[in-house]
């Protein structure tokens, strides 16, 4: 008998537990939803993202580009998603004109990574990044500094709202992307004497630029 048959056989031979457990009549959201205007929702996202340690900016494209250049500092290469995956046209051209090239996506020593987002969650200040063509996983993982470019339209109320949107679309973030990651703040650890330290393995800084 295979291990599979043994395991399934034993489970099926057992008396089914929890027959008495009733379904939940009215499902709740982990964070009760407030009735907010889109402006208030945007503000909620900013507040929550800042509360978990992100730097958040609301900028037009010119100011955003300046901010990106400031964060890149004097570096000559960055990791980046493909421009087609970001709400910012002409970024790679502008970077190149200033002598900043795009590094191989598996370079472990590049300081800055630039991505877009697929969604953002207001209740928790989270960014949703789905892997895909031109959306490399490593860009939001290997560098010290992660810059995420988004628009206010990306913002959903909470994780449950994202799940509902995913459900109506046939769960692409669970079936088409090999990896979907929800990022809530910079990488951190409290393993040493319960002291919070940023930048354990992933980015120690997350800069969220909301383009106007």
């Amino acid at each position: 008998m295979t291990a599979r048959e043994t395991i399934l056989g034993k489970l099926r031979a057992a008396r089914r537990p929890f027959g008495e457990v009733q379904p939940i009549a009215e499902r709740r959201r982990m964070i009760p939803r407030q009735d907010l205007s889109s402006q208030e929702r945007l503000q909620q996202f900013i507040d929550e993202a800042e509360a978990v340690g992100c730097f958040v900016y609301q900028l037009d494209e010119n100011a955003a580009f300046e901010q990106i250049m400031e964060l890149i500092g004097g570096d000559h290469s960055v990791l980046s998603w493909d421009e087609s995956q970001m709400p910012f046209t002409g970024l790679s051209e502008m970077l190149e004109s200033l002598g900043v090239s795009t590094a191989r996506h598996d370079s472990g020593d590049v300081r800055v990574g630039v991505t877009g987002v697929n969604a953002a969650l207001a209740a928790t200040g989270s960014l949703v990044l789905e892997s895909g063509a031109g959306r490399h996983r490593n860009v939001s993982l290997l560098p010290d500094v992660h810059i995420a470019l988004m628009r206010a339209e990306h913002i959903l109320p909470d994780l449950e709202a994202w799940q509902e949107a995913q459900k109506s679309a046939g769960y692409p973030a669970f079936r088409q992307s090999s990896n979907t990651t929800l990022i809530t703040g910079p990488s951190k650890t409290a393993d040493i004497a319960h002291q919070l330290v940023k930048g354990a393995h992933g980015p120690r800084e997350v800069h969220v630029i909301i383009l106007e």
Binding site: T6, P17, L141, Y171, N179, H201
Partner: protein, 479 residues
């Protein structure tokens, strides 16, 4: 069983822990901090809402367990659709052999590992090292533990028992770090060391907090990002997952992946809530080339068939450890096997046999805190009591009695622990009515248990003499 159990030495191990001041301080601070953070997050909106979320999480896990064989088949189908190669293992030997076979098949020499309590159960690291593989634990706490040659003492904070100075000494002794007193510098040092390992590893091993049957996905939560590294950079990814980690739908997952960190560290979401759906797709350009899921039994089907099936709902948040007056005074190592605290006192005898863990059902003052904080409402005190009955029936209760007296002594010797027990008893009575766990169980079966006074003498004393009231400042200090 690869890890040799020391659970029958509980009393001696507890004594050792109780005399270690550094451990006392470190565990006390760690558990207290987590305990209050959980309260703040789970009940941020209202007690009623927090309790409803616990009920919702509990229902999702119970429903998944009820349908477990069907869900395992559904998960297998969808995992395969997502490109996973799915394997099954009845016990530790089979699981470890599968890992070795996969490593050989793909010419693997170096392995990075993200935190997994299951692999502690299986003794996977020792088996891989014996086969000549280089294995590096990459969760910072696990990394320190591995360097020190120890085992995790807490489900979520494996190195909770060590002070900063002890950790510094491990890094200096084992890796030649320049001595420092700064936690930031130690983290930066470990980051540099581990970054090399991440980039050259051939295979990454992870556990899985959840398997979503509906879509064939693995849910992993983490704060450091090491789990993303282990599952993204190496060309082979292997996830070792207990069969009880199944959930039916993404909707259930959305509940549980928020309840878990709220209950564990008091975060609404972990920094990385990672959803894995197989190997990197052709168009993606990164991600593993080969991805495996090994579904592991290792005693779970036996538990499933018993009155203890509910314990399989556990989502390994560590809240019961943080709340337990016994765990809080000695940490996890005294329990002598993989899992410490109330959950460990129940799981250990079930996994390794009651006769090999005789004192553990008594390693509790039965104050009820563990059930009260459990995000999936597992009746841990009820199970501890039931295990004691099993012992009496099997005639094994002498060591248990000694342990029970020891626990009583621990509960009585510290004012905070005494207060915590009293508080839990008051709250517990509201939930359980006249049913009293523990030594009072028999007594209250036939009598009405007198109601606890709404406030204890200690509380009244404090309220009447405000100058003595230090509790608010203590709370602020911990926040």
């Amino acid at each position: 069983m690869t890890l040799e159990a020391q659970s029958n030495n509980f009393i001696a191990l507890a004594d050792i822990a109780l005399q270690n001041d550094d451990l006392q301080h470190a565990i006390g601070e760690g558990t207290r901090t987590a305990y209050y953070r959980r309260l703040d997050t789970m009940f941020a909106h209202s007690d009623e809402h927090g309790e409803s979320m616990r009920a919702q999480a509990a229902e999702a896990k119970r429903r998944a367990l009820r349908e477990l064989p069907d869900l395992l088949e559904k998960a297998e189908r969808n995992l395969k659709t997502n490109g996973y190669q799915v394997e099954w293992a009845v016990d530790a030997a089979q699981a470890n052999q599968l890992v070795l076979d996969i490593a050989r098949r793909h010419g693997v020499q170096t392995v990075t590992k993200s935190k997994s309590m299951l692999t502690e159960e299986l003794g996977t690291n020792a088996v891989m090292e014996a086969a000549g593989l280089s294995v590096v634990e990459t969760d910072l706490g696990e990394y320190i533990i591995q360097l020190a040659g120890e085992t995790p003492s807490h489900i979520v904070g494996p190195v909770m028992h060590k002070t900063k100075a002890e950790i510094r000494d491990v890094f200096v002794r084992e890796l030649g770090m320049t001595p420092t007193d700064s936690a930031e510098e130690m983290v930066a040092f470990a980051r540099r060391m581990l970054r090399e390992d991440f980039l050259r590893a051939d295979m990454g091993i992870s556990g899985g907090n959840f398997v979503i049957a509906e879509t064939g996905s693995i849910g992993l939560v983490m704060n450091e990002g090491n789990g993303r590294m282990c599952t993204s950079l190496p060309r082979v990814h292997v996830a070792l997952i207990g069969i009880e980690k199944l959930v039916d739908t993404v909707e259930d997952y959305a509940t549980l992946t928020q309840v878990l960190p709220s209950s564990s560290t008091g975060q609404k979401m972990t920094v990385y809530t990672n959803i894995l759906n197989g190997p990197g797709r052709a168009e993606e350009g990164d991600g593993p080339k080969q991805a495996y899921v090994i579904l592991v039994d290792n005693g779970r089907t036996d538990i499933y068939a018993t009155k203890y099936a509910e314990v399989l709902s556990c989502i390994r948040c560590g809240a019961c450890q943080n709340a337990c007056p016994v765990y809080r005074s000695m940490g996890g190592h005294a329990y002598g096997w993989v899992y410490g605290g109330p959950i460990g006192a129940v799981l250990t005898p079930l996994f390794i046999g009651l006769e090999n863990a005789t004192p553990l059902p008594h390693a509790s003052s039965l104050c009820g805190s563990c059930k009260q904080v459990c995000p999936v409402d597992i009746d841990l005190p009820g199970m501890l009591l039931e295990l004691r009955w099993d012992q009496v029936r099997a005639g094994e209760s002498k060591a248990g009695w000694d342990a029970a007296m020891k626990m009583w002594a621990i509960g009585m010797t510290s004012p905070t622990r005494y207060a915590l027990g009293g508080k839990a008893a008051r709250a517990g009575q509201a939930v359980m009515g006249d049913y009293m766990p523990g030594p009072l169980g028999n007594w209250s079966k036939h009598r009405d248990f007198p109601e606890f006074a709404p406030k204890s003498f200690r509380q009244l004393w404090k309220e009447r003499s405000p100058s003595r009231n230090r509790s608010s400042t203590t709370r602020e200090r911990l926040a």
